[in-house]
């Protein structure tokens, strides 16, 4: 079974999908974080490929991308990082979160092959809507890699056609706007999530703005998994120096571990 499908068969009501920018602040730190997230029981991890023009992202992920780019991170190196993670015992499903242009330059066909070889199980491409992504979705599926489609509160009648052929899970955007930390979500978000759930042949995950355990708990009533990106990225940013200092690393990782633990509901949430 595809690892993403498998992940959605376990931990119902407690599924967390954390997002980290690969190479923020270094590749070694990203590897440490992957181990941490695996130990804490994340269902899937989104591995962000840093990009010069991340127009779906708010300031926190923009800054994380800039930090990673300064380290010389790029798509090729993210794949190497994934391969290393697999060699070092990371078994949880990995999903690339990348803008389209780096894929275009890498070559879509070559990417899906090398992604598979590196142990990548899925891809989320925030600037590749359904119409533009159909062929890439097929190309990826032939390698057993899922192109995860996004739906938004504004998708309306588009929802049906987007989710129809979905594989893995459907990513529901919680609110109008970019990624970030927010307290208010789109009006009617529950109805939107229930609609997607009803239409979708695969599980749903919800993301954008989810930054606290209470948010996760709330959203798990209406979706099969919750994505936390910017809030985790902020924690990493707060500890970026300590994470690179061998004397302070353990304490910094513990602090982040505490944050991640606080995101996962203690008991399964009923939908």
């Amino acid at each position: 079974m595809q690892p993403i499908d498998q992940a959605f068969q376990q931990k119902e009501g407690q599924r967390l999908i954390p997002f980290v920018v690969a190479g923020d602040p270094t590749s070694q730190v990203t590897l440490d974080l992957l181990h941490l997230l695996q130990e804490e029981g994340a269902s899937v991890v989104e591995l962000g490929v840093p990009y010069s023009d991340p127009l779906a992202d708010g300031p926190l992920i923009q800054e994380a991308s800039e930090r990673a780019l300064r380290q010389g991170m790029n798509l090729t190196k993210v794949l190497e990082l994934a391969r290393t993670a697999r060699e070092r015992g990371i078994t949880l499903p990995l999903v690339l979160f990348t803008y389209y242009n780096p894929i275009l330059q890498f070559g879509p066909e070559r990417l899906v092959q090398e992604a598979r070889a590196a142990g990548i199980n899925g891809m989320i491409i925030p600037d590749l809507p359904w119409e533009e992504g159909k062929e890439l979705a097929d190309l990826a599926a032939r390698q057993g890699v899922y192109l995860i489609p996004l739906v938004a509160p504004t998708s309306k009648e588009r929802i049906r056609k987007i989710v129809r052929g979905a594989r893995g899970f459907v990513y529901c955007v919680s609110s109008l706007g970019t990624t970030g930390i927010r307290q208010n979500f789109a009006q009617g978000v529950e109805e939107f999530l229930e609609t997607v759930r009803q239409e979708s042949p695969v599980p749903t995950a919800v993301g954008f703005g989810i930054s606290a355990g209470s948010h996760v708990e709330y959203f798990l009533r209406h979706a099969d998994a919750a994505v936390v990106g910017s809030a985790l990225v902020r924690e990493i940013a707060l500890h970026q120096e300590a994470l690179q200092d061998k004397d302070k690393r353990a304490a910094a990782l513990d602090s982040i571990r505490g944050f991640v633990r606080g995101l996962i509901p203690a008991a399964p949430v009923k939908s």
């Binding site: 023009d53 790029n74 275009l104 119409e131 890439l136 509160p153 504004t154 987007i162 109008l176 706007g177």
Partner: protein, 408 residues
């Protein structure tokens, strides 16, 4: 797409393609709004009342038709073909940008949107957007890179006088590219009541087509005026290309006339053999930026590279997708002029015609003089003089008097 593996997954049937270029590469949140915009645009273009209102504003408010001036002094200087100037510099607000902002502003009103947002580099599109917002009684926010805010203080104040809010953008390179990113981010958050007024022939479908349609008044007038004056079509038409809105508006009227040679002039900055230029079509490769697939200045990993030009309006690492198509199809010849050539052309047009061109337009002047020099008096070269240079006086002064080095 000739040398990229990307070709295998290019869609040919998605809407808004120019060959393989164009398309809609935006977050899903915007897709519904783009469909709505496309429908609204098509309905408006078929609506006689909308067309009449636009035509009336272009005439009574902006002063169209703009003249087609025979440039006798410049013609004598070049010593070959006769040169005409299409005087977009004589528009209200001083450039062709108002043609498009009036069109999109009226469309926003027709679609019931009361808030406009716009991106701007040098401030010309920002001023034109703020102007139309004031005219139509709308709210207007203009996103502008912090670096450009600093360089163009007077245009910032001008927009504020017109009632617009100027929002400095501090991300990335802090110039037009990042102002556009930020405008898109704002649009994603406020898509339900906000109209995004894009200033160039770039962006996701239907923007490149829409901007071309609102700018083609330049080419349509030029064609009619020249037929009246000379009873014939031009030999060559020359326009500068940043995103490419004045050029696409001018070319649109001539693209079917196989005998008319079309030339797009990009900014070569410090030179095409340096990494300080904005010659996207000459030196870039196909890629996605700001919602469409076109040529792009980028590194091997697909990260967008910063552009450079003395002219802020051309200082952009992307280009409209229709230009990418016209380049690959061979219909339009794209070339580039350096900062130094543009500054020389500014002085040349000042002295031979008494016209101070925008630095952007001066790139077209520089190339046109070369073309005219090779021609004979039976030939006619038309230059799209897209804007006036008042906004650039400080820059020109600094470049010519300051460093003594016109390239930086």
């Amino acid at each position: 797409m000739t040398n990229k593996q990307g070709e295998a997954v290019m869609h040919k049937e998605t809407p808004g393609r120019f060959g393989s270029f164009g398309g809609r590469f935006v977050p899903e949140t915007l897709m519904h709004a783009l469909t709505e915009l496309e429908d609204g645009f098509r309905e408006a273009m078929d609506d006689r009342e909308f067309q009449e209102e636009l035509k009336s504003l272009l005439a009574e408010y902006s002063g169209r038709p703009t003249p087609l001036t025979l440039a006798e002094g410049l013609t004598r200087y070049a010593g070959g073909a006769r040169i005409y100037l299409k005087r977009e510099d004589l528009n209200h607000t001083g450039a062709h940008k108002i043609n498009n902002t009036l069109g999109q502003g009226l469309l926003a009103k027709r679609m019931g949107k009361k808030k406009l947002i716009a991106e701007t580099g040098a401030g010309q599109h920002g001023v034109a957007s703020a102007t139309v917002a004031a005219l139509l009684g709308m709210e207007c926010k203009v996103f502008m890179g912090e670096e450009d805010v600093r360089r163009q203080r007077l245009n910032v104040f001008r927009m504020q006088l017109l009632g617009a809010e100027v929002i400095p953008v501090t991300s990335g390179t802090r110039t037009l590219k990042d102002a556009t990113n930020e405008a898109i981010r704002h649009w994603v958050s406020h898509v339900e009541d906000t109209f995004y007024l894009i200033g160039s022939a770039v962006g996701p479908h239907p923007y490149p087509e829409m901007v071309r349609q609102f700018q083609r008044v330049i080419g349509d007038e030029t064609r009619a005026q020249l037929l009246l004056k000379e009873g014939r079509l031009p030999t060559d038409v020359v326009a500068c290309v940043g995103g490419g809105s004045n050029a696409i508006g001018m070319f649109a009227a001539f693209v079917e006339d196989a005998d008319v040679r079309l030339h797009g002039v990009e900014a070569a900055g410090a030179g095409l053999d340096t990494d300080r230029h904005a010659a996207t079509l000459s030196k870039g490769a196909p890629g996605v930026l700001h919602g469409s697939l076109s040529y792009l200045l980028q590194d091997e990993h697909g990260q967008v590279l910063p552009a450079h030009s003395v002219s802020a309006g051309l200082d952009y690492p992307g280009v409209g997708p229709e230009h990418a198509y016209l380049k690959d199809s061979g219909r339009v010849r794209y070339t580039a002029a350096t900062d130094r050539e543009a500054l020389e052309a500014v002085q040349l047009l000042c002295r031979t015609e008494g016209i101070l061109p925008a630095l952007e337009s001066a790139h077209a002047v520089a190339e046109a003089v070369k073309i005219a020099h090779e021609g004979s008096p039976e030939d006619i070269v038309v230059i799209c003089l897209s804007g006036r240079g008042d906004k650039d006086v400080e820059t020109i002064h600094r470049e010519l008097e300051g460093s003594g080095d016109a390239t930086d």
